[in-house]
């Protein structure tokens, strides 16, 4: 099952209420927000209404918010050899 990854690139400020309603229905509330919708005619019709504002890609699996955030997190630059609380076994 494939999904549409829809990212809002341009805001709908000053656009007709119908356009803003479509974005609300898609769950896109601010710029650079991303939603994943299963590929369907319904989703396609909604995308076509706001095609000037969004970026669309077809993906196999939706990426959860947590995973997207973890992917953005930079490498900390260190790793913990051993925690202080764990006793050393001799």
């Amino acid at each position: 099952m494939s999904y549409f990854r829809i990212t809002l690139l341009r805001s709908a400020i000053g656009l007709p209420q119908k356009t803003r309603g479509v974005l609300k229905a898609l769950g896109l509330r601010k710029r650079m927000a991303t939603v994943y919708l299963p590929v369907s005619q319904d989703a396609a019709g909604q995308i076509m209404k706001v095609k000037e504002l969004v970026d669309v890609a077809e993906v196999e699996q939706p990426v959860t918010k947590e995973l997207a955030k973890a992917a953005r997190r930079p490498d900390p630059g260190f790793y913990v050899e051993q925690k202080a609380s764990t006793p050393v076994l001799s």
Partner: protein, 110 residues
């Protein structure tokens, strides 16, 4: 002094619009990029639906009626029909919200 209704030369009577009559070269380049981006979105939606063996009216209508960026004439990319203008054409950058609306077709013959 400040705020949305402050007295500025365009507001204090008289016609003084500071929109240049023609678009600059980078403006045109960005306009082409936006046109291509919309083409890309439509083609991705179309391909995704085709993989499922379906299609939808909005996509079919767009494909039937709208030219893609490469097929458009420069005069349609950068200007639109206006019956009040000399030679019936004005820059597309005079269209309200022109960077966020699709305006590709003009009356035949103009």
């Amino acid at each position: 002094m400040f705020g949305p209704f402050r007295l500025t030369s365009p507001l204090s009577g008289g016609l003084l619009w500071k929109i240049p009559w023609r678009m600059s070269r980078p403006q045109k380049a960005r306009q082409r990029a936006r046109l291509r981006h919309v083409d890309k979105v439509v083609s991705i939606v179309d391909q995704a639906l085709a993989k499922k063996g379906t299609t939808t009216a909005a996509v079919e209508r767009w494909k039937a009626e709208m030219p893609v960026e490469q097929e458009m004439l420069p005069r349609d990319k950068y200007t639109i029909f206006d019956r009040k203008e000399k030679k019936y054409r004005k820059g597309i950058h005079k269209l309200p919200k022109w960077t966020r609306v699709s305006q590709r077709l003009n009356p035949p013959g103009y």
